[in-house]
């Protein structure tokens, strides 16, 4: 019982340290969000402001932009910790590395996934989405962004020791995220046509559960390889 308390305490410590550090350098959090907003607003400028057309392609645009913004933010997940030795120290705590890695990914989602959710109503407005479609978009982002954070963390853990891991990270990460993209846009399309999309959401949720249970072990193993 006492061990469980210690483990939760360690989780909270890691999360609060991450948040504290991030708020000292707000640009790290704000830049990906700015990028997300700007990419989405470029589309109406480039393809014209026909509401029917925008409404049709909006979910795809928002999802792809969210994916690219997530890619931008991954680097900071382990890079600084790798450089300053924090990663080594996390491996030398009496707690399982996979557990501490969960805390890091959770903090990362709070700093990058959550803001995407928060600005999404604004973008829905830009792209003339109706409430029904927006609700579906929001739900898919809510379930999908944590999966992106977990998958991205595996990619970062594998590439953190490399000098120029950024491109490699995109090459690992983007193909892995295709299933999420497909199911999310399918759910949103179904919502746009007024059909039920609960089944598709359930599939996404199943992916999230699989990612939460399996990814931390993959991340921890990859980090051990990268550090040694």
């Amino acid at each position: 019982m006492q061990r469980v308390t210690h483990m939760f305490n360690a989780f909270l410590q890691v999360v609060s340290k991450e948040l504290k550090g991030a708020f000292r350098h707000p640009s790290d959090i704000l830049n990906p969000i700015w990028f997300f907003v700007i990419v989405v607003t470029l589309f109406p400028l480039a393809i014209g402001s026909d509401p029917a057309l925008l409404k049709r392609i909006a979910p795809g645009i928002i999802w792809v932009a969210a994916l690219l913004a997530a890619l931008l933010s991954f680097e900071r997940l382990f890079k600084d910790d790798f450089i300053d030795g924090t990663l080594e120290q996390l491996m030398l705590t009496p707690f399982p590395l996979a557990w501490l890695v969960c805390a890091k990914v959770f903090a990362h989602w709070l700093l990058t996934g959550l803001p995407v959710l928060l600005v999404s109503p604004l973008l829905a407005l830009f792209l003339a989405l109706d409430t029904e479609t927006y609700t579906a978009l929001f739900l898919t982002l809510l379930i999908g962004t944590p999966i992106l954070s977990l998958l991205g963390a595996i990619g970062v853990a594998l590439t953190v020791g490399l000098r120029k891991g950024g491109i490699l990270l995109s090459l690992i990460m983007l193909p892995l995220s295709i299933p999420i993209l497909i199911f999310s846009t399918m759910a949103i399309d179904a919502a746009a046509y007024g059909q039920s999309y609960l089944g598709l959401l359930a599939l996404l949720a199943a992916m999230l559960v699989a990612a939460i249970t399996l990814a931390p072990f993959a991340i921890a193993a990859s980090l051990r390889v990268s550090v040694s």
Partner: protein
């Protein structure tokens, strides 16, 4: 008790050291010496379990460290070349994090500890604004706030001034006399009494020698 049995470390087809065996008993201060590139840091990374040896094994209290990882890490304090001090946090926040990540931590006054390492007045400044020596002191402040018997310190004196080194040497002696173990690398000559101190010399050639 830490025991190494026939450790071999190979880096990209180059043998760093070979068949290295030694034992560190409670109350010992062990200085690992060797030229640059002789494998001091590699040895320490094997000892703490950050890397695995190409051959041989490290034993803690008679058990291989890979099998008792959690309890070994509970009793180990490792400070490497990279100090794990977060540049965007203050000295106090860094120390608080280290304190709270330990399983058993007493109610130590962190302000007192920072004063002991000569950082009084710098507690609330982000460590990115401190000098290299002061950042090292933040990392070394961890020595005061734990009760781990085994200390593994890679170049603890790097960037420290003479006074800082003297304080640390006294702390090592106190720790060893209380039954702790200290392993360190340094190029400095230690002024520690010979009965406590022993040396391991890593030579450049494939062989190795001890004193």
């Amino acid at each position: 008790m830490l025991h190494c049995k026939k450790l071999t470390c190979v880096h990209e087809d180059r043998i760093i050291f070979n068949d290295l065996s030694f034992t560190v008993a409670p109350g010992a201060i062990v200085q690992v010496e060797g030229a640059n590139g002789a494998g001091k840091t590699s040895l320490f990374r094997l000892l703490v379990g950050l890397a695995s040896p190409s051959a041989g094994a490290v034993f803690w209290q008679g058990k291989a460290i890979s099998t008792v990882r959690d309890s070994f890490h509970q009793q180990l304090l490792y400070i490497g070349h990279k100090t794990a001090v977060k540049a965007e946090l203050t000295a106090l926040e860094n120390l608080q994090f280290f304190q709270k990540m330990q399983v058993s931590h007493g109610e130590l006054n962190l302000w007192d500890i920072l004063a002991k390492v000569g950082l009084a007045g710098y507690e609330d400044i982000t460590t990115s604004q401190l000098s290299a020596g002061q950042q090292r002191r933040v990392a070394l402040a961890r020595l005061w706030l734990n009760n781990c018997p085994l200390w593994v310190l890679d170049e603890p004196f790097a960037a420290l001034d003479k006074l800082g080194i003297a304080v640390l040497e006294r702390l090592f002696i106190k720790h060893a006399q209380a039954g702790g173990m200290v392993l360190l690398t340094t190029h400095q000559d230690l002024t520690i009494d010979c009965s406590l101190l022993s040396k391991i010399v890593l030579t450049d050639a494939a062989g190795n020698s001890y004193v």
